[in-house]
C-alpha cells in the first residue's frame, strides 16, 4: 500500500506543476495582451500618450 502513496504524490506533483505553469502563462499573456490593446487604442486617436 505504501508504494501507492508515492505513486499518488508523484502523479499529483506532475499535473499540478504543469497546470500551474500553464495557468501562470495564460494569465501573463492575457495581461500583456490587455495592455497592448489599450496602448494601441490610445495611440489610434491622436497623439501617442505615455502609459502609466
Amino acid at each position: 500500500m505504501k508504494s501507492y502513496v508515492f505513486l499518488f504524490w508523484g502523479y499529483l506533483v506532475v499535473w499540478v506543476g504543469l497546470m500551474a505553469y500553464f495557468v501562470v502563462l495564460g494569465r501573463k499573456i492575457a495581461s500583456v495582451a490587455r495592455r497592448l490593446d489599450s496602448l494601441e487604442a490610445r495611440t489610434q486617436g491622436g497623439d501617442p500618450r505615455r502609459t502609466t
Binding site: K2, S3, Y4, F6, L7, W9, G10, Y11, V13, V14, G17, L18, Y21, F22, L25, G26, K28, I29, V32, A33, R35, L36, L39, E40, T43, D47, P48, R49, R50, T51
Partner: protein, 231 residues
C-alpha cells in the same frame, strides 16, 4: 499570423487532451505491474518522458541560442527563452519525481548518481540563464547574454553527464546496451504514448511562452515609442 497560431495551439491542445486518457489507461490499467517494485514503478511512465523532454528542451535551447547569435533575429531569442523556461519547469519535475521514485525503489531520497546529478546541474545552469536575463539592463543585452550562456550550458550537459558517470553511477538501466532488462510489451506502449503526451505538452507550453515573449517585445517597443514621442 495570430490566426495561424491560434489554430496551431487548438490542434495541439486537442491532440494532447485526446491522448491523455489513452496514456493514463495504458499506464494504470494495461501495463503490467513490475515484479520487484510494485505499483510505484509506474512513476517511471512520467519520470522518463519528463526527463526526455527536459533534454529535448536543452537541444531546442541550443538551436535558439545559436540561431540568435547567428542572425540576431528576435524569433530565435523567443525560442531560446521559451525553451529555457519550459525546460526549467520540466527539469524541476524530474528532480521531484526522481526522489519520489528513488525512495521506495532504492531506499534513499537522493543519490549522487549520474542522471540525477546531471539533471541537478542542468537545473542550476538553466536557472542561471534566466537569472542573468533578469539582470540585464536592456532586452538586447539580456538576449545576447542568455544566448551565450545557453550555448555553453547546452554543450556542457553531455560532458557533465559523462564526467559524473565516471565519478560514480548506478541509475537503473531499463533499456541498456545489452537488453538485459527488456520491457514487457504492455510497458513499452504505455511509455511511448506517455512520451508523446509529454512532448505535445512541451510543444504547447513552448508555443505559449514564445507568444508571451513576442507580445512582451511588442509591448516594450510600443511603450518605448510612446514614451519617446512624449519627450
Amino acid at each position: 499570423m495570430r490566426r495561424g497560431y491560434d489554430v496551431f495551439m487548438a490542434v495541439l491542445f486537442a491532440a494532447t487532451v485526446a491522448l491523455m486518457p489513452v496514456a493514463l489507461y495504458l499506464i494504470f490499467v494495461n501495463a503490467p505491474e513490475e515484479k520487484v517494485m510494485g505499483a510505484v514503478q509506474k512513476i517511471f511512465y512520467f519520470h522518463v518522458p519528463i526527463a526526455a523532454v527536459t533534454f529535448l528542451s536543452v537541444f531546442v535551447l541550443l538551436a535558439g541560442a545559436t540561431g540568435y547569435l547567428w542572425t540576431r533575429r528576435a524569433g530565435w531569442d523567443h525560442l531560446s527563452i521559451a525553451s529555457a523556461e519550459v525546460g526549467l519547469v520540466f527539469c524541476t519535475l524530474v528532480l521531484i519525481t526522481g526522489p519520489i521514485w528513488a525512495k521506495p525503489a532504492w531506499g534513499v531520497w537522493w543519490t549522487w548518481e549520474a542522471k540525477l546529478t546531471t539533471t541537478l546541474i542542468l537545473w542550476l545552469l538553466l536557472a542561471g540563464i534566466l537569472l542573468s536575463r533578469a539582470y540585464a539592463s536592456a532586452p538586447e543585452q539580456g538576449a545576447r547574454v542568455a544566448a551565450v550562456l545557453g550555448v555553453v550550458a547546452a554543450l556542457d550537459v553531455p560532458i557533465v553527464y559523462k564526467a559524473v558517470d565516471w565519478w560514480r553511477g548506478n541509475h537503473p538501466i531499463v533499456f541498456g546496451a545489452g537488453k538485459t532488462n527488456p520491457l514487457a510489451p504492455g510497458m513499452l506502449s504505455a511509455l511511448l504514448v506517455s512520451m508523446l503526451v509529454f512532448v505535445l505538452l512541451y510543444a504547447l507550453l513552448l508555443a505559449a511562452r514564445m507568444r508571451l515573449a513576442a507580445l512582451e517585445d511588442r509591448l516594450a517597443a510600443l511603450e518605448d515609442a510612446a514614451w519617446r514621442s512624449q519627450s
